[in-house]
C-alpha cells in the first residue's frame, strides 16, 4: 500500500478548474462567480486548517480537548441547520431543535460505532472519533435541516387544514400527523437514494478517497458500507427527533396551532 503525495502544484491545477467555473459564470452572467470563489477559498482555508489541527490532535489523546472539538463541531452544524430554515422558531428553539437533534443522533451513533463496532481503545482516540463524528454530523445535518424546513413550511401553508381538524375535535397530534410524516420522508429520501445508487452511478466519496490513498477496494467498500449504514441510522434518528420536537413546539398546552412562534422568512439573496 503506497500513498501518493499531492504537491502544491497538483492542487493548483485542480483550483484552475474553479477559476474556469468562475470565469464561465462571469461571461454567462450567472452571477455566482463571487460565491464560487468565496466558497472555494473558504473550503481551502478550512480544510487546510483542520488538516493541521488534526495532525496535532491525533498525536495526543486528551479527552477534554477532544470533547471541546466535538462540541465546536456540533455548534457549527447547529448553525448550519438553522441557516437552512425558511421559517425559524423564535428564541432558543430556533437553534435548539437542530442542535439537540444532531446531538442525540450523531453522538449516540458515533459512540456506538467506536465502542461496539470498531472497538477502539481508548474509545475517544481522535483519529477515529473526529472523522466519524464529522461524517455523522455532516450527513445528519442535511436530513435534519430538510425535515425541519419541510415541517415548518408545510404547517404554515396548511394552517386552515390543521385548524379545521382541531375545530372538529382532533388532537394536535392528529392535526399534524400527515405533515409530520411528509417532513420526515423528505428528510430521509436523500440518504436512501444515496444508498440505493451507491456503486452503480458513482463511487461514494469516502471510498474513492480510500482507494486513491491505496486501500484495497474490498476493504474500502466495507468501510463505505459501514459508514452508509451508520449515517442512515443517524440521519433517521436526527430527523425523527427534530420533527418530533419541532411539531411539539408548533402547539401550546391548549393545543393551539402557534404559527406566531415562527419568524418571518429571512430575505434570501
Amino acid at each position: 500500500m503506497q500513498l501518493i503525495y499531492l504537491s502544491v502544484w497538483d492542487l493548483m491545477l485542480a483550483a484552475g478548474l474553479i477559476l474556469l467555473l468562475a470565469t464561465l459564470s462571469w461571461r454567462l452572467r450567472l452571477g455566482v462567480e463571487r460565491r464560487v470563489l468565496i466558497a472555494a477559498l473558504r473550503s481551502s482555508i478550512q480544510l487546510m486548517l483542520i488538516g493541521l489541527v488534526l495532525e496535532q490532535l491525533f498525536a495526543q489523546t486528551h479527552l477534554l480537548l477532544i470533547g471541546l472539538i466535538a462540541l465546536v463541531m456540533l455548534l457549527v452544524a447547529g448553525w448550519e441547520v438553522l441557516s437552512r430554515q425558511k421559517r425559524r422558531y423564535y428564541g432558543f428553539w430556533g437553534y435548539g431543535i437542530g442542535a439537540l437533534s444532531l446531538f442525540i443522533s450523531s453522538f449516540s451513533v458515533t459512540l456506538l460505532t467506536l465502542v461496539v463496532i470498531i472497538g477502539v481503545k481508548p474509545w475517544y482516540q481522535p483519529q477515529y472519533l473526529i472523522p466519524l463524528l464529522g461524517m455523522m454530523l455532516g450527513n445528519t445535518m442535511s436530513g435534519v435541516a430538510i425535515a425541519l424546513d419541510q415541517l415548518t413550511r408545510q404547517a404554515w401553508d396548511a394552517r386552515g387544514r390543521i385548524e379545521a381538524r382541531l375545530l372538529l375535535g382532533g388532537t394536535w397530534d392528529e392535526a399534524i400527523t400527515d405533515i409530520r410524516r411528509d417532513a420526515l420522508r423528505s428528510g430521509l429520501i436523500p440518504i436512501v437514494n444515496a444508498m440505493a445508487a451507491a456503486g452503480l452511478v458513482s463511487l461514494p466519496g469516502m471510498m474513492t478517497g480510500q482507494i486513491l490513498a491505496g486501500s484495497p477496494p474490498l476493504e474500502a467498500a466495507k468501510y463505505q458500507l459501514l459508514i452508509m449504514f451508520l449515517v442512515s441510522g443517524a440521519t433517521g434518528l436526527g430527523a425523527v427527533a427534530a420533527v418530533w420536537i419541532g411539531s411539539n413546539r408548533l402547539f401550546d398546552e391548549r393545543q393551539r396551532l402557534r404559527l406566531d412562534r415562527l419568524a418571518p422568512p429571512p430575505r434570501m439573496e
Binding site: G160, E163, L166, L167, L168, G169
Partner: protein
C-alpha cells in the same frame, strides 16, 4: 342545551368582552371587516392565545381538554378545509347511518356523497358538507363565521334551514357573524356590533 357565557375575553383586538347567550338563542354579530369578529369566534373556540374564560352552563372551558371543548362549541368558518381525499373520511366515527342520511337529505345530498372526491366539490357543496361534518359532532353551541357569504340563494336557504332546525331541536346557542343585513333582519334575534374592541347594540336604521 347549554348557556354560552363569555367572561372578560380580551385579545389584541378585543377588550374585556362579556356576553351571555341563552340556550336556543340566536345572536347576530356584525362590524366592519378587521374589527375582530372572527377573532372573537376563534377565541371562544380557543384557537388563539387570549385572556378570559368561557362557560357552557357551569362548565368552564379551562376544565375541559381542548379537543372536547372544541367539539362542544362548533365553529364553522367562512371557508371550509379538508384533509383527506373523500367526503366520508371527514365524518366522525361515532355517526349513525339514519342520522347521517337525514342530515344529508335536508342539505340536498344523496348517501353516495360519502365517496365523493373533495377536489371535485363546488364551493356550495363544500360549505354544506362542512356544516354536516360539524353538526355530526353534536355541538352544544354554534359559532358561525359568515357561513353563507359564498353561497347562492338556494344553498343559503338550505343552510339556514338546517341551522334553524338544529338550533331549535338541540337548544343550541348560536353566535352568528353575518355581513348580510337582510339575513340579520329576516331571521331576527339579538343583534350586536363589534366596535372599537367592544360590543354595542346594532342601531336600527
Amino acid at each position: 342545551m347549554a348557556r354560552l357565557r363569555l367572561e372578560g375575553l380580551s385579545t389584541v383586538m378585543l377588550r374585556n368582552i362579556h356576553l351571555t347567550l341563552e340556550p336556543s338563542e340566536r345572536l347576530f354579530l356584525s362590524g366592519v371587516s378587521g374589527s375582530g369578529k372572527s377573532l372573537l369566534l376563534r377565541a371562544i373556540a380557543d384557537l388563539d392565545p387570549h385572556q378570559g374564560e368561557v362557560w357552557l352552563d357551569d362548565r368552564p372551558r379551562s376544565r375541559l381538554p381542548p379537543p372536547e371543548w372544541r367539539r362542544r362549541v362548533g365553529l364553522l368558518p367562512t371557508e371550509s378545509h379538508w384533509w383527506a381525499e373523500t367526503v366520508g373520511e371527514h365524518w366522525p366515527a361515532s355517526v349513525t347511518v339514519p342520522e347521517l342520511e337525514r342530515l344529508l337529505g335536508i342539505l340536498g345530498f344523496e348517501a353516495d356523497v360519502r365517496g365523493w372526491s373533495i377536489a371535485r366539490l363546488s364551493t356550495g357543496e363544500r360549505q354544506r358538507l362542512a356544516l354536516a361534518r360539524l353538526l355530526l359532532n353534536r355541538p352544544q353551541a354554534l359559532l358561525l363565521d359568515e357561513v353563507t357569504a359564498n353561497l347562492d340563494l338556494v344553498n343559503r336557504e338550505r343552510v339556514e334551514a338546517v341551522l334553524e332546525e338544529y338550533r331549535t331541536t338541540h337548544h343550541a346557542a348560536v353566535l352568528w357573524v353575518s355581513h348580510d343585513l337582510e339575513q340579520r333582519t329576516r331571521l331576527g334575534g339579538r343583534r350586536l356590533v363589534i366596535h372599537d374592541g367592544g360590543l354595542e347594540p346594532e342601531s336600527c336604521n
